[in-house]
Subunit: 175 residues, 2 copies
Amino acid sequence: MTVNRDVYRQCTNECDDAGARMAAVDLTTHPGHLARRLQQAHYLLWTTMVSEETTSPQYAVLNTLVAEPGLDQRTVGERVGLDRSTVAEVVGRLDRRGLVDKVRDPQDGRRSLLRPTDEGLRVHRRLGVRAARMNQVFLAPLAPDEQAVFFDLIRRVTDAAEGLRHPAEPTAAPG
Amino acid sequence: MTVNRDVYRQCTNECDDAGARMAAVDLTTHPGHLARRLQQAHYLLWTTMVSEETTSPQYAVLNTLVAEPGLDQRTVGERVGLDRSTVAEVVGRLDRRGLVDKVRDPQDGRRSLLRPTDEGLRVHRRLGVRAARMNQVFLAPLAPDEQAVFFDLIRRVTDAAEGLRHPAEPTAAPG
DNA sequence: ACCAGATAGTCAGGGCACTGAGTATTTCAG
DNA sequence: CTGAAATACTCAGTGCCCTGACTATCTGGT
């Protein structure tokens, strides 16, 4: 009765009635928005429960180098899911703080070979304990079986999306 | 037989055998790492399928202003989950591109009141369609019931983590 | 009317993340 | 052996994201 299409057309700026609202979307059904919120929530918890100076990506890089000392930057990026530029920044910070050792590969002058220093190993060990604790708190709202589902669903979505970027690795000739 | 503890202690830098590996963790069991990967995967898909110039956070802000024109920055940040500084940046960009209108509140000189421009409404409408398509692609690896679980789990973890930051809003005196 | 505290926004600074251009090095075809 | 392509890295530019310090404004108690 009171609200018809003409009113809807007019009220662009003045009123904030059902007309304007109808055009908007519920962000809580947008996975990207949820992913960002999740990531932020984690960031916050990390800085309070794990470390203020060593960030989660830095720990990821350090962890990779503990697992496989002597990796070059490109491979590290592959392992943790970062592009060359970002890896360079993160490694640069770790290097400046004396947590990793960065040397030119004598065999291949393009590469920088990375390995954790003793201090890097110590930091890695210390943060590992704290990170485990933080993960427990972070995942506390989920039952154990839900946590498994949580991991599975996120991994599947992420892997599929990344697959869209790197279509058909040349393992064999496509049909 | 071949590998014992002594070897483990020595090989800090030279070899990358089981000893070093044992100290490292599997990042795929770290929710924070998965969250970051998920967010990046989404970012990538957004820029290719939705828009190169308007980012997902920008769309989130725009969408909020379409739903509730006349909001101030602080409230927008509350809605989309961003702090004041980030909101200021995002709004600044939207303003510079003429997608939102930013005026001083005559009633309260501290506030900036925001509303989408006509161009902002057009962009919002166009991106909404594309975003919906993108979400379908993004969530395609999950069955419909899994998608519901996906949303539910992420929301619960995120809400709980944010609850840790804002403990006990003063709605009533705690026990 | 006044001043202390709360509130909204800005700014500086640090870190993550990407693209695209440019450099150095290696590799491989001819 | 030589030049083109591939590769590893760096650098510039843009944008998101936070904290902490600062400014301007408003509010409430005296």
